[in-house]
Symmetry: D2
Subunit: 385 residues, 4 copies
Amino acid sequence: DQVVQSMEDASPTRWHLAHTTWFFETLVLKPSLPGYRPINHAFEYLFNSYYNSLGAQFPRPQRGLLTRPTVAEVMAYREHVDRAMLELLESAQERELQDVITLGMHHEQQHQELMVTDLKHLLSLNPLFPSYRATEKAAIVEVQPLGWVHRPEGLVEIGHAGDGFAYDNEGPRHRTFAEAFALGDRLITCGEYQQFIDDGGYRTADLWLADGWSIVEQEGWDAPLYWLELDGGWETFTLSGLRDLNPSEPVCHVSYYEADAFARWSGARLPTEAEWELVAKDARTAGNFVESERFHPVPLSRKPDAAATQVFGGVWEWTQSPYTPYPGYRPPAGALGEYNSKFMSSQMVLRGGSCATPASHIRATYRNFFAPSKRWQFTGIRLAR
Amino acid sequence: DQVVQSMEDASPTRWHLAHTTWFFETLVLKPSLPGYRPINHAFEYLFNSYYNSLGAQFPRPQRGLLTRPTVAEVMAYREHVDRAMLELLESAQERELQDVITLGMHHEQQHQELMVTDLKHLLSLNPLFPSYRATEKAAIVEVQPLGWVHRPEGLVEIGHAGDGFAYDNEGPRHRTFAEAFALGDRLITCGEYQQFIDDGGYRTADLWLADGWSIVEQEGWDAPLYWLELDGGWETFTLSGLRDLNPSEPVCHVSYYEADAFARWSGARLPTEAEWELVAKDARTAGNFVESERFHPVPLSRKPDAAATQVFGGVWEWTQSPYTPYPGYRPPAGALGEYNSKFMSSQMVLRGGSCATPASHIRATYRNFFAPSKRWQFTGIRLAR
Amino acid sequence: DQVVQSMEDASPTRWHLAHTTWFFETLVLKPSLPGYRPINHAFEYLFNSYYNSLGAQFPRPQRGLLTRPTVAEVMAYREHVDRAMLELLESAQERELQDVITLGMHHEQQHQELMVTDLKHLLSLNPLFPSYRATEKAAIVEVQPLGWVHRPEGLVEIGHAGDGFAYDNEGPRHRTFAEAFALGDRLITCGEYQQFIDDGGYRTADLWLADGWSIVEQEGWDAPLYWLELDGGWETFTLSGLRDLNPSEPVCHVSYYEADAFARWSGARLPTEAEWELVAKDARTAGNFVESERFHPVPLSRKPDAAATQVFGGVWEWTQSPYTPYPGYRPPAGALGEYNSKFMSSQMVLRGGSCATPASHIRATYRNFFAPSKRWQFTGIRLAR
Amino acid sequence: DQVVQSMEDASPTRWHLAHTTWFFETLVLKPSLPGYRPINHAFEYLFNSYYNSLGAQFPRPQRGLLTRPTVAEVMAYREHVDRAMLELLESAQERELQDVITLGMHHEQQHQELMVTDLKHLLSLNPLFPSYRATEKAAIVEVQPLGWVHRPEGLVEIGHAGDGFAYDNEGPRHRTFAEAFALGDRLITCGEYQQFIDDGGYRTADLWLADGWSIVEQEGWDAPLYWLELDGGWETFTLSGLRDLNPSEPVCHVSYYEADAFARWSGARLPTEAEWELVAKDARTAGNFVESERFHPVPLSRKPDAAATQVFGGVWEWTQSPYTPYPGYRPPAGALGEYNSKFMSSQMVLRGGSCATPASHIRATYRNFFAPSKRWQFTGIRLAR
């Protein structure tokens, strides 16, 4: 399971384990630990993801063709680098390196999430529908009608400022004008999404952006990724194997195009990232994160009060905002300038984290981004109007 | 020349002529002129571009496979529809239909521009480099150093309002907050762009968005479209055949990725569409439009004063703004709702019109849009900072 | 109709006209007519089909992107070369050049056939189903049961020898051992082929070669090319437009895979090219050739006697023989060595000529060859056992 | 190493192990062992290679996406089936099943060879160039000039007849006429092939079949597969890692197109399969087979006498014969009819076995077949004239 690459977007677990180690080796140990000796110079090439300023990269679509170094050798690589990192952390230089080491840990958290989503995709392709880990099934709960959290128009500020860690793309904090808006007080459920399907959502061109409709026609999309219609009923593939669809769960594994079409069908729209952030900064950050080891969104077990719920964890929420630089944004100098900024085209911002995200990784200003056609992340829908 | 389709993005002249006629037939004559008889019912299918609500469409990539109806038959189709339109315009119903007829004329202007750009692409593929029309060569002029037009920060309004014609995507007029900015007072020239090339612009990954760099590597881009390096000197293909590159001309046929990379290399950035519009509303609308029959951008023949120049005509100017709906935007009901709104993903806004645009077609609020990789339109660069 | 290229296998009429002229210009006039001046040196590149020894070739899939030289200019090119050929033929050198000039005329005949088949393909893609030329419909006749022409086993000779023109690939004449066999005394009809379809021929994997079955599944083949099932009945596209299928006509536009599957279904097999030739050398060469201007196979209007019928003209007959060199074959020296020999892999031999072949072009030793998946030629079925 | 699929032509080791077991389970145990219980019914689908008559098949290009059943589970599957086979073999029915069980063992031998070649391909893609097993390097020996084994013309017999095992495609034994010919008395060496390269073999179009030249141009072929030019000298990837090229070794991993081009360059040709077989039936069958565990061809260590050498083992020898049925051939009834016959198009016959073939698997009448472009098998060159 750790070796195979299921599609170009995904990477083998083995690769994630080596790449996050490579990050510390390349950006911390080689420049800063005198006398550090790499295990294998070829790893510099093999496990560079996309940093052109750090040299050539082994082609991404071929990551699954590498059976060597083996998983055991990768684990030895990790131990080698861990030992060197401990040595470095104990030395006097630690303070100067704090920023890049902290970044390396957040980077590793991102790959922890990808290990979950990439493994799910791999296992989903197997007609045996293997279970990664048995979990208890969530009960079907009664879903409260969708309510709305209102905000007045105004010149507001969004973006990160202050002392805690944030990625460069979350700043600078800046002013923006927001019209009055309302944000859905919970996520859209599978049951609601089924109504969209039953109402012909996937057969009604005028609900869709043109790019989305092309994919619907070419790929034959008729439901979210991992949904299977068996004997007339919907099932969904999870990391615990095939499960009956729970209509009270947040809908998950939808593309931006599906989220947008659903919103149009329901007479609403998706929020901008500013709208989302304005509400999220007041929301509780407790949620269903990877630490729960459920690896799946869960129904909302209590009646929502006036506040927005399910804001953090569960599923990433598509916004209608393309991923672009904030006003005044400048990428960092050097290799770390490639971390976020070069992807600022043709992608959409997602907010809030998912059931595969580490809890300490997320915050209200966090900007995730994926191409609008992608579905293998835990991505869902919150409406605005 | 009127029959062949040179690539999926382009259409044969013959098709443009028939499609613009189809527009009036389908959206005006069939619903509104009693007793109107179409020449051929199959044209409804053959010349529908992308309106799902008006039925199936002949596949776009195969438009060039249709040799019938012939060009002569298409001209007869146009006369047939023109006669019926005149009949309709003389009747009492004319006032109610004014909006869709006006739209049909603007629609035809858009296809007039596409006929020029699509024909240029077709002829460019021919090793004989045919000339569509002989024109006088523009003299090489001395280019003034780039100056800047400054605007202070503020809550401003952009978008169309009022009585004149505008497309639905230009509204609603709305407030947005703009930081203080400066806009280049003229377009970037071929000479300046050559410096970018000579400085290794196409070989320096960290100047590029990741998607752009992928194309540079895959397609081997090393200059704008239609530039050829012959015997050590650059030439460029124009509708008057191959020409020596004029360094004082505005650079043209660059993708968004190239415009963005050039801006980064020069230490500036591309403007947002709001910034562009704030300056453009005060600029003169005279310019180098299709009526000049030069079909090519021309050098700026006089010293720019404090105002922005070359704002309208010449080349379309890439902005850094993705093409998204303005706050509060709602697409029109019916087929015309498909005209603009369904393309609001993965495209960038361009402003100002080009040497292939009819002069009466353009205005400060006009939003054109193309995918960031496209180069066959007359697209150029204005900087901001 | 003369400009567009409908697929990579086909070429525009305009190109055929220029290429056959290029053949005489390049292989006859330039080397042999002192003072010959080409109209345009670029034609050497533009109209070279595949002769590597004669320089680079304009890419085959892009032949349809050339709108210049125009059809009128190509006709002027032909006149220019015709005049020079007449001048040459009147001169003393004529005798030495006889072989290559004769070859050039046979070459032109091959392209005459391709003009018919390529144009048919182009028009077939148009939903208007245009007619190239009106022809009288063939009557439905009563088809006699299939009879067999028997030959005993023996060491036999096949291949061309003697004085008349033949392509290099028809020789050397050589011995081969043939088992006793029987050859069908007529072609398979559309009515017989319909029985194969009705019996599930296109849904029964074990009737097919593996490569053929892959295409059936990928392309969704369920009938010969140009057959359409409309309102429950089969029609077929001809150069006279759509026609009701005539069950007594020879079936046409089948691939080798379909011919082979039909033969297996019927309990027979396809003939080897040796078997075909042994019978054909005694058959009458009268047939339905391009000069009839029917451009379509016709039913057999008389009761077959003991002899084989429909051997020449009508449809090309797939043999089970891969196209390989005869024992002792050597390609000619120089550019003409590329004419036939370099295609001797992955193609099958067809025999007998079709309704698009000039009558004087065909003979019993003639070896045509196409890839087993191709269907746009007039290709049909004769059985053996 | 056992899980990954390196290309569509290859399969993971894990899959080969399961598929050969599936063969016995499906074709022997299920029909013939009363009470046999499969471990998992899904294996019927997952491990069916291409037998349409045995139901649907898991798509070949996705074999490497299956990480379950794991290697351990596949080994348990093999034990399960082995136990049942032993039970069956001890029962009274054994005699009736002898043919299919024998076939199953030869089938497994074929997959033993594929495991070697597929693993070599997988490891070759890894920039670490892993060694599967260390072996001693072969010494460079002096190569004797190529000699020729002559045979007179005559009506001869080829093909299998008699009692021993043979595949259906080796019969029926039949007469064929052979012209007088001479067969090379040894294989072509790497040193000789290097002369072809140095003489511009890969840059000279007229040495190549058209299909081959297309691949040379598209793929940039300039040497056999697994040859690398490092620091000016050729190395070759072997299952013992990278090795300096040994010029006295038989050249290996060439396509039919390369073998054919080499033969043309050398003024000879490739043999027909009949010519090869006529000489091979008198040759010694001792050779370099998989049991040697060298997994690589070895130089000829002694002076060849008048007889042909290196006929069996070492490398498969391309013949100029397309893979077609022998006269009178009929495929077996049922699923086993799919074993060989449906591949009888667009492939070439190879003879003699390789260093990856089990010694008991090969014989003079054995017909192997691959598409002419394939290079990952141990395929080499013997000339004829």
